[in-house]
Amino acid sequence: MRHNLPHNNAELIWSTWGIPESCGTAAARTHRIGAGTIRTAIWKTGSNTLLAISNQIDAPTWTMPGFPGTATPRLCFPAESALDEQGFPELGGPGWMYAWLGKERRYALLPAYPELPVCVRLRHPVMLPPMTNIQGILASYVQAELHIGSHKAATLPLQALQKTLYGSTTSGLVCYVVDGSFIPDDLLDDNGGLKQADQDFDASRILHPVRIRNNTSEVVHIQDLCVYGSQLSIFRKGRQLFSEKIQFAFGPSRVRMSIESSPRRSSDTVILAEAQTSGEDTVIERSIEMLRAITRM
């Protein structure tokens, strides 16, 4: 039985799933999330039942031969692998990961922020006069985590994200980079959601309500905004994923990201992932890293 799910329905996708009913590739379940496709199947080895997991990312239009659009190197499919009609290798091949199920008969797909911060490169840089602020929305991407019981079985990227360096080549921060735009306030409805239809958003995309504040005495041109996912939670409202409201304060010497407010709790707002670290922890950690980078101690 094959399930081809709509790729933009976060409400459906980020939930708990029963394991596929029978063994083999033919009975594999397909989750389509953003540009990623996750397949799960049942694989029997003797008396053990394993959940086989495979992941592919749509090859970006620019992807060259030699760089298959797979999520991670360990999931790369060898050229000689037999692929089925959906481009997935046969069960038992190297393109699958296997997780022990035990007595569990369900697994959960949950969104999570990538391990690196995500730097949103604005297509249209924003000019902000001194001592002013602007509100809007940024979009970045989440990756999927597959949980069996209380254990995380796999982390599955859903986008082929490129890396960039935020800062100088001697002490900068390596981040993922996504192109985006700063959506002005007038496109938002009263609840902070977009007035536009949500078909532009897929289930792997998360919205960050932001306020950018210029605390300097000079005009700042904002080209990149770096979102530290580890400090943020993931909420779902309807079909959309979103985070807390973030504030970027441009000071004379640095840019500081902090959480301005959490979304109002309502019956239709579900929290899918909690923040992993507090802002204070990150500040301390970053300060120590910076000190170590400078002093090499």
Partner: protein
């Protein structure tokens, strides 16, 4: 507990116990001699080699006779070993001194190991392995020196002649251990420079490897083929060293030569496009293109792309593979050394041809 202390904190000082035993013996030896003197029996001093063998078995009765017979000879007295040991161990002053020494050593070891334990915890958290190991080693050696000095004081050993002797020995050792001392001091300078740490990849005099350990006299590199390379600190401080992993990102420098008939603009666009599409090439700093020179074989091009240190292998292999593939697809060839050879026969035929047809441009 002692075993535990040794394993935990005195691994770098294996000679500690030897030193303690030697010190105890050293403390005990004169005391033993004094104890023997304390029996009020004259010590046998052989001053004349002509003393007959039977003197060894002399008794108080025949001692006088021997002395009469050999006026230059000392008096030989036999003391039973048991008595000597009994006197030695029942001497309260000596016992007190030994106890004092033992207590000083024990307290010293406990205090120093506690200090080192605390230091280790702090240093490993706050400092890099190189600095923390060096600091801990210095504290260990300083601790051992303090323990030894205190123990000697407790044994009421006069330190002045010892210090004098130590000075002379120090000079002798200094000459003998010039290289080691030089390496040791070089190690300090290297630490203060903070040019590398454990885990960095270094290239030193054509040797490349991951820093495996940083010791007092040398550093050890693990080469990529798993060989261990030991480089003395003195050599390291003189050599040109390249730290490949000092900064979070690095640039891959690609140089290639295309023939003169190549459309250089097309080659440039292709190279920048390859860099732009490569998954591990950083978007910022941007890839850098440059025409280096008009070389012997063609136009020398340069492309620099930035990558995260951990992505070295996929970036290097991926970029070269992609350039080859895309250049082949675009019909751009790579230049290689080309020579036009003209043989003597070719020259003669050319001359004959010229003679038959007449000089170029001439008309009949």
């Amino acid at each position: 507990m002692m075993k535990n202390l040794k394993n935990r904190d005195f691994r770098g000082v294996p000679r500690l116990w030897t030193a303690i035993v030697l010190m105890l013996l050293w403390t005990a030896a004169p005391a033993l001699l004094r104890a023997q003197n304390g029996t009020e029996t004259p010590t046998a001093v052989m001053e004349d080699s002509a003393v007959p063998a039977q003197v060894d078995q002399a008794t108080p009765q025949n001692t006088a006779a021997v002395a009469e017979e050999h006026p230059n000879a000392g008096v030989v007295v036999d003391i039973p070993l048991l008595d000597s040991l009994k006197n030695f161990f029942l001497n309260p002053e000596l016992l007190g001194r030994i106890l004092n020494v033992g207590l000083t050593i024990l307290v010293g070891i406990v205090l120093i190991s506690l200090l080192i334990g605390v230091l280790k915890r702090i240093a490993h958290k706050r400092l890099d392995p190189r600095s923390s190991d060096l600091i801990i080693k210095i504290i260990q050696w300083a601790g051992v020196a303090l323990i030894v000095i205190n123990a000697l004081k407790a044994a009421k050993v006069d330190l002045n002649p010892l210090l004098g002797a130590a000075g002379i020995v120090g000079i002798a050792l200094g000459f003998a251990a010039q290289t080691s001392v030089s390496n040791f001091i070089s190690g300090f300078f290297l630490v203060s420079e903070k040019a590398f740490t454990v885990g960095d990849i270094l290239t030193i005099d054509n040797l490349t490897g991951v820093v495996f350990s940083i010791d007092t006299l040398s550093i050890k590199l693990r080469a990529f083929d798993n060989r261990l390379i030991r480089i003395p600190n003195e050599t390291l401080i003189k050599a040109n060293m390249i730290n490949l992993t000092r900064f979070p990102v690095r640039r891959l420098n690609i140089t290639l030569t295309v023939p003169y008939d190549t459309d250089v603009e097309q080659a440039k666009n292709l190279l920048l496009d390859i860099a732009d599409r490569h998954p591990t090439v950083l978007r910022n700093p941007e890839p850098f293109f440059m025409i280096q020179s008009f070389g012997k074989e063609g136009v020398d091009l340069f492309l620099g792309v930035w990558f995260v240190q951990s992505d070295w292998e996929p970036t290097n292999n991926g970029m070269f593979m992609a350039i080859k593939q895309r250049f082949d697809e675009a019909g751009i060839r790579f230049a290689y050394p080309t020579f036009n050879l003209a043989t003597q026969e070719d020259s003669r035929s050319a001359l004959r041809q010229q003679a038959v047809s007449g000089p170029a441009g001439s008309s009949t």
